[in-house]
Symmetry: C2
Subunit: 282 residues, 2 copies
């Protein structure tokens, strides 16, 4: 396994692999890897000749009041985990190389980015689509792997890839959960034991919503209201949103129908967590 | 020479060429080709194994009051001219394939795009950088050729290519001029004989400005004022702007120094024309 820090070196490697007709699988991460990331990595290794994992805590997707500085980092542990999974290249560029002085270009999906997480995190998805575009141009992957846990992000990246005619297959992988159902996240590290227990309300509420819908509920506002009530009943939780949206355009649904996503974001103590469930509703 | 209309077909061809280690030269155009385009094409043919010319009148770079519908088109003539120059592929995608229903993604350079042409044509450069990004992903060129006549466009595309880490060499080619010095443009077709004569004032003013600076003038506002006076003295001309800007950030210069661009945009009758001169000033 090779650790690559220079963008130009990464591009040369990708070029050489492409000339050799090798497929490149790519897993972009912000590091501090958990089992969710590792399942993406294992799938990439399985599907492709060459696997590249990037570790880059991207400043442009954090708001000014958010946890960019405190975001957990542990490169040595990450490298050990990736070496075990037989990753070929770990790409670890420096912030000042990714965003040099005078940097001015942004990639933006203008639909579905101002709702759900985009409402409380303005410019978050603009930062995400910009850095993913850049990483795609550095790594030139055939397939890129994203977790379903960041459901809105996944749908927005799919839209960007389609819209900009990037010749890349976006592979979605199921959310990996801790015991009790809490979705794995690098931010779970922030939780106290009591908060970790309280955080279970998020997935439990999603599962209840799934059941309501599976039993025939088709009123999106009713499901939303009942989910809000569940989250608010947990004293350590502060609701950001609970929504039933279309997976086609991320808009909230009055009538539940088609490919949908049920999504919740809530602060548990001061830690913001998200989770979602996907359903096909006839 | 092959005419390609399907995006997927274009991508397959590019992929095959890349696998064969062939370099691709790319000239994006809106068609209605003149000698300026053809010099870009000849340079691309000379520099590369394979040359692709796209013809696509891009709706997103025209304002609502602009000449998108009336923009001159003559595919048959264009194809004849390109065949003579030994172009390998002409890429001619349909608008509804480039911007399908639900399209939502834009690439935007956020510095230097609200000045000069960007002031009177809001969203113009957003349309340009978006379509060029898309075409780059369709054609996957090693080198892309742009005319210096659209100086601001060239500098903005360079910034985008650098910022987004596109592994593409942007080649700038000198402005080609008609007799008398009028910069070649597809829009020159709109000019009556009197207007064509009047349009010479644009380049003549640029040449005067160059002389003033070469003779030692370093006050950007003074050069601007004198250029404005020259254009206003032509009864058929309506000034849009006359500016001395830095080529590094496209900002107007009070003190003329470094790599500069002297640029003018003016309506001659109802036809908007642009031209510019580049200088290195110590």
């Amino acid at each position: 396994m090779e650790l690559i820090k220079e963008i130009k070196t990464m591009q040369k490697i990708s070029q050489k692999e492409a000339l050799g007709n090798k497929t490149i699988g790519f897993v972009p991460t912000m590091g501090y890897l958990h089992e969710g990331h590792l399942q993406l990595v294992e799938k990439a290794v399985e599907d492709n000749d060459t696997t590249v994992v990037s570790i880059f805590v991207n400043p442009t997707q954090f708001g000014p009041e958010e946890d960019y500085e405190e975001y957990p980092r542990d490169l040595k542990r990450d490298l050990d985990l990736l070496r075990e999974r037989k990753v070929d290249y770990v790409f670890y560029p420096a912030v000042e190389d990714v965003y040099p002085e005078g940097y001015a270009t942004y990639v933006q999906v203008e639909k579905g980015t101002d709702v759900l997480c985009g409402r409380s995190r303005p410019n978050h998805f603009k930062g995400v689509t910009t850095v993913v575009s850049k990483l795609f141009n550095m790594v030139r992957p055939h397939r890129a792997y994203f977790g379903q846990k960041d459901g809105q992000q996944l749908l927005i990246i799919r839209r960007m890839v389609d819209d900009l005619n990037m010749d890349i297959e976006v592979v979605a992988c199921p959310t990996v959960r801790e015991e009790g159902g809490l979705a794995m996240s690098s931010r779970n590290k922030y939780l106290s034991p009591e908060e970790r227990e309280a955080a279970l309300v998020i997935n439990q509420t999603l599962q209840k919503a799934r059941e309501w819908i599976e039993k025939g509920e088709r009123d999106g506002w009713e499901v939303k209201k009942k989910m809000e009530r569940e989250i608010k009943a947990e004293p350590l939780a502060t609701l950001d949103y609970a929504s039933v949206v279309s997976r086609e355009n991320l808009q909230e649904l009055g009538e539940i129908k088609g490919p949908i996503m049920i999504a919740i974001a809530a602060f548990i103590g001061s830690t913001r967590l998200i989770d979602n469930v996907w359903l096909e509703v006839n």
